[in-house]
Symmetry: D2
Subunit: 306 residues, 4 copies
């Protein structure tokens, strides 16, 4: 497709998603998320050549939340190769992302890197590897987007910290099984901050292009091996949208990662990335309007690899 | 790739899998499975134009086992459209394929069509829709392969019947929650027979080509809508290889469905199907040599869509 | 207390339970249970000398249901000594009586003899030991009560059989783990019949006196060792009233066994037995009015051993 | 029995337990516990008139550990009446004392006051009621034993603190469900100290006499209503020895509370208390020699109420 074609697709997707804007429920477990206007919506596509096409509020920053898990995982895989897979699994789970049940049964080895305990272990590894997990993620996002201003929302990070008892329970259970390298409060401090980064659809689509480029960053350097780039896409497809991943794979058929801030990032390997954002999420934590947008995107373009 | 290229790939795959032949453990929960020589191995690729390329013992029939679940699901989707999704979910699970725990927690709605209770529900639906679930599956396989002799192995079917207490427990639990249309023994009779069908790598690759053709059968008629064909591929990718599906997606990156008879079927949407068979399975129930073959196939061809 | 005192206590208990008669919900999973008038109520006390004191409808037969598990266990312990404890545990459970979850986790060894799978295993052992489990239970009840007419209600037994899918699931799961001696349908046939025995408060109080007499039957022969008699009382106290046993122990402080037919049997070791019956049960399956009666009985007599 | 009889029983019990001394494994999750000589053993009986009879090392202090949960519960019941039962259940559980699984399923309401999360909730309540939970427990123990020196072992308390990740996970999960009144670290600080109190068999037997006296303390004042005293005994019988409570009830037939320090406290309502101590514990956490001692005590005296 040409650049004009992509811009046309973006506009059609925005129109198709319109009826779903405002549906769902804005996550309100922390005040700063709950204050977002439920009627906002943005959509952007970035192609592997680095061009980006946006529609709606595609330049408005929102809270990245769980989509940050993708960048933490990619950085750790870039540093460590396969070592992280001794500390966390690759299997999807039928359980909610914050469940302690499978974590206890597996003796502190989280099922995959996108459930909360798995992401905490990944951040713990990144903190161990780099000395500054949050800083490493922010640096990656800044470099890939060319935006030196990209930053955490301090109010949200503070709110995450004050409401984070479930994550503390998960992290201490991991620690009880000997699977934490840093003190729990330190790892969680980085984890809460990485979840509170503000980023727009357009920037996020650019930031994740290395997954569409089979591991290669904007500057041409390699972040991930081809194998690991495919692997991260596979984990997105099987585990990226909480315990709704199966239904997403059926409906959308693209590797996706969602966040309770209302963003969903999708990868079309070899072609492009697409990011949709709408604050209203369903009871699994996935944005209703963003899911509708990505479903329309696949229907309009036929870009599902399945 | 040309036909010569495919034949060349097949031979390279057979060579690459050779070191893994004999590894794993032959499933022996029923005598007729346990008697199979662990050193057998076959591999075949069928392209969407209906050509088939085989290597090793690619013409030797083996027991289809859980791969039959794929055909039952496709037939039910062809008849019923989306009605079956009221009776079974689409979500991958971290639990073993024969666990009663998630089934009780979900009040008799199996997590997906490839865990045993899900497959029993699908067969129950197919029996209700057609009056002969086993017959319908056999007819589909015969039509797609052009082999009118394809049949059940009566000894295996009898063995499945006599050792099927776990499946009975699952089916009666489903029935207790009101999610069975036929008497449990009738549905299970069809289920045990469908699992005992004998088929070779080459025939199985042909039989599943409709999934590579986005729903279209060998005679040009449509079995599945494009959406449902993509959906079945998605369920294979997320749930097709028991609770090792995540690792398979990472390593192989293709929609796959395995059986404890040692077969694994893979789909390359738009291109081809590939079937590998080796009787030795790992502790999750997936063939060690067949997995190695499919991993080599993807590496050699670059055909993963991820 | 004198006989007159006991008669007085019985009348006070009936009065104290009166406000609770009609409360709860009559079990209606089988038609014959659901047809019982919810306003019925009876209470009886039998002393170790064999006298019985009744009030309300204490001579009206009701369906024994799970209280039969007590007699099956006592018979098996009488035959086998401690062998049965290799097949079933002695631990209370926080799970419902018909849950498959702990049964799968314990690999087919039920937690205790009063959850359904445990009782099925006990009946399976009794069938193996005697060739007629139902007959053995009926013979014990007839001998202890002196009533040669005591029998099963055929309609209820048939209903249990037609609605018994959950028990089938439990039994087949036990069988899958190799913990059944007889074919599942045979054991369940005896189990369904033992649950459908009709017996009155007065007769049931007499039938269980061997537990108050530390193992000695009405004819002076010993059914249980003193140790096992104490043990059965202990299991009643810890597991006898489903997953409400802890609250019962707190409120009533007596070894009790309840049934969804609305009966509850209590033992005062060394002194007497007491049986209350009211068809309305709470959401755990224990009769509301019978529980109130036993609580009053303990308050009025101070007979709790705790 | 006369005082001479009791002293004679104590000596027989010590002799009967002798062969079991040294069996089991000394808990070593914290260093100060692991250093205890496994061959120590003590036994004491205190009668309701306040006399105490000891044998073996009955005057040697050991770490109270989970037996402290009994005193915290009694104090809270004394203050609050039944309010605590809104925050914690009364049901025994088949799960280990430190499992997060039932706690998550019950949405933060621990099953009973003797599993770790239940005890943490009780301590949290006591801290809320008194401002000093540890101090309140110590004051009770000092008053009942007449020993103003009774105190925490600071090294053990520090060790509990540094190894307490599992308890932190439990407490934060409780907090996540809104069932904590104080900050988690504050409640745990008191909890870790209460578990680290040093006390001898003789002193512990005296300290718990209020449970044998149906709620009345050494000075004649009432700590618990008769109902609650019976209730605490009931919870000891159903939940007092971890997930071995059923077997204990069968073998010993007395309300008991054990600790991983190797102590087990038993109550004979209306008569006496008995405390045995031997550091080697079984895989459920109950002392092997102390259990043997209490089993002998019941056999020799016939004092089981069941």
């Amino acid at each position: 497709m040409s650049a004009t074609d992509y811009q046309d697709v973006v506009e059609r997707v925005v129109a198709a998603a319109r009826p779903y804007v405002g549906a769902g429920k804005v996550a309100d477990y922390i005040p700063s998320l709950g204050e977002v206007d439920p009627n906002r919506f943005g959509f952007a596509v970035a192609t592997v050549d680095g061009r980006v096409h946006g529609g709606g509020e595609s330049a408005t920053p929102f809270t990245i939340e769980s989509i940050s898990k993708l960048f933490a995982l990619s950085l750790v895989l870039g540093h460590d190769g396969k070592e992280i897979w001794k500390r966390v699994g690759q299997e999807p789970t039928g359980d909610p992302f914050n469940s302690l049940i499978p974590l206890q049964l597996s003796k502190g080895i989280p099922g995959n890197p996108f459930v909360n305990p798995g992401a905490i272990v990944v951040t713990d590894q990144l903190l161990h590897d780099t000395g500054d997990a949050y800083g490493a993620i922010r640096a990656l996002l800044r470099a890939e987007t060319g935006d030196p201003q990209l930053h955490v929302d301090a109010v949200t990070a503070h709110s995450e910290e004050t409401t984070g008892n479930r994550d503390r329970a998960l992290a201490y259970l991991v620690a009880d099984f000997g699977n934490m390298l840093n003190p729990v409060p330190e790892t969680l401090n980085h984890y809460f901050r990485q979840c509170s980064i503000m980023i727009s659809c357009e920037k996020l689509a650019l930031a994740a292009l290395f997954l569409a480029r089979r591991g290669v960053r904007a500057d041409g350097s390699r972040l991930l091996s081809e194998e690991d780039a495919r692997g991260v896409n596979a984990i997105m497809l099987t585990c990226g949208t909480y315990n709704e991943a199966g239904e997403f794979a059926y409906r959308v058929g693209l590797p996706c990662k969602s966040g309770v801030g209302g963003g969903i990032l999708a990868v079309v390997p070899g072609r492009c990335t697409a990011v949709a954002w709408g604050p209203g999420v369903d009871d699994k934590g996935n944005s209703v309007s963003a899911a509708a947008a990505l479903e329309a995107f696949v229907k309009l373009t036929g870009l599902s690899p399945l």
